[in-house]
């Protein structure tokens, strides 16, 4: 009977169930720290440790879910297309802000990780930390980092950026709603976007998801070059 715990379809069902429950808990409480992705990861790790199901067996089912990451990234082309007209209306401010956010985000995280003595594979895994998880994981994977570390760090960055973002912007006097939304989306992807929507109007959220998409694209295109310039 215990062997059934290692059945791939059972483990997929458990993954669905855990995620649905985590999402419910997040919506009921509204607590940022209960980010459904992080909670699901922690709960499933706990489940594997308690039941003694080896990770390799879990990943046989997990791979079937992970398979949908690539098509999901392609699907981001639809929101990008819907945002094109908005991007074109203020092309220069948006492109310059996104370029600055993207390059500075990669350079600073690599610099400080180096300073604090992180190893090469960890540094590579952190480079894309600002952007939405599927894109960040793809970047990490293609550069030889640890995709699972990227996934966890990206979620944590989203929560942290979402909680502290508006305080930081007060310090640097970022006042316009467009700029605030862009900043949140650029630095803290979907989690920052959801907070921007709660704090402000619909407008914040829309600009924030624009920042998320454009920075995701720039980060995917520029990370290999920036890492190479920094000696990785």
């Amino acid at each position: 009977m215990m062997e059934f715990l290692e059945n791939s379809y059972f483990l997929i069902a458990v993954t669905f169930a855990v995620y649905v429950i985590a999402q419910l808990a997040y919506r009921r409480t509204g607590l940022m720290l209960l980010n459904p992705i992080l909670v699901s990861i922690v709960a499933l790790i706990g489940f594997l440790i308690v039941t003694g199901v080896p990770y390799d067996r879990y990943s046989e089912g997990g791979r079937m879910i992970e398979f949908w990451l690539k098509p999901a990234v392609v699907a981001l082309g639809v929101p990008l297309y819907r945002q094109l007209s908005a991007i074109r209306k203020q092309l220069l401010p948006i492109i310059m802000a996104e370029l600055a956010g993207c390059v500075i985000g990669i350079v600073t995280v690599v610099f400080f990780a180096q300073l604090f003595g992180a190893t090469r594979e960890v540094i590579i895994s952190l480079a894309a930390k600002s952007v939405t998880t599927p894109i960040a994981m793809e970047v990490t994977r293609s550069l030889g980092g640890i995709p699972s570390l990227t996934a966890a760090v990206v979620c944590a960055v989203g929560i942290f950026g979402g909680m502290s973002g508006f305080k930081v912007m007060k310090l640097t006097r970022v006042k316009s709603p467009i700029a605030q939304g862009l900043s949140m989306g650029t630095a803290a992807h979907a989690v920052g976007t959801s907070i921007a929507m709660e704090k402000g109007s619909y407008r914040y959220g829309a600009w924030s998801s624009l920042g998320l998409t454009v920075n995701g694209l720039l980060t995917a295109l520029l990370t290999p070059t920036i890492l190479a310039l920094m000696g990785y």
Partner: protein, 130 residues
């Protein structure tokens, strides 16, 4: 219609794979596929209805698809114990800087172009998609 939308999505993913295979560029195939999809929509080679339903479902539930990948952290407890200061410290400092600078750059550049008459349009909002 769902089957057509899935076909379109995987067609563009396959095109992305082909571009990476032919050129060897270090960019994920899915990103190339995303760009080609955007381009095809813009050029009206395909219409939104050929891809939107499945795409919106996948984008709306992005979080779920990388949960199993995150569970792989299970194998990296030692690495995290040894390097958590660098991981947390570098990510936090960098996030602060990005939030501070992105909006600041946008404000500066927009203010310097603000007085042109055409900039009235800049207050419009992009369609919210996520």
């Amino acid at each position: 219609m769902l089957i057509i939308q899935l076909a379109v999505l995987f067609l563009f993913l396959a095109l992305g794979e082909l571009v990476v295979y032919l050129t060897g560029i270090p960019v994920p195939s899915s990103i190339i596929g995303m760009l080609l999809l955007t381009l095809a929509l813009q050029l009206r080679i395909i219409r939104l209805r050929h891809v939107a339903g499945v795409a919106d479902f996948l984008v709306g539930n992005l979080g779920f698809f990388f949960v199993p990948a995150g569970v792989a952290l299970l194998g990296y407890f030692d690495l995290i114990r040894d390097q958590w200061v660098a991981i947390v410290g570098a990510s936090a400092i960098s996030t602060f800087i990005v939030i501070g600078i992105t909006g600041w750059v946008h404000q500066i550049i927009r203010q310097s172009t603000h007085h042109r008459p055409s900039s009235r349009n800049t207050h419009t909002t992009p369609k919210d998609t996520e």
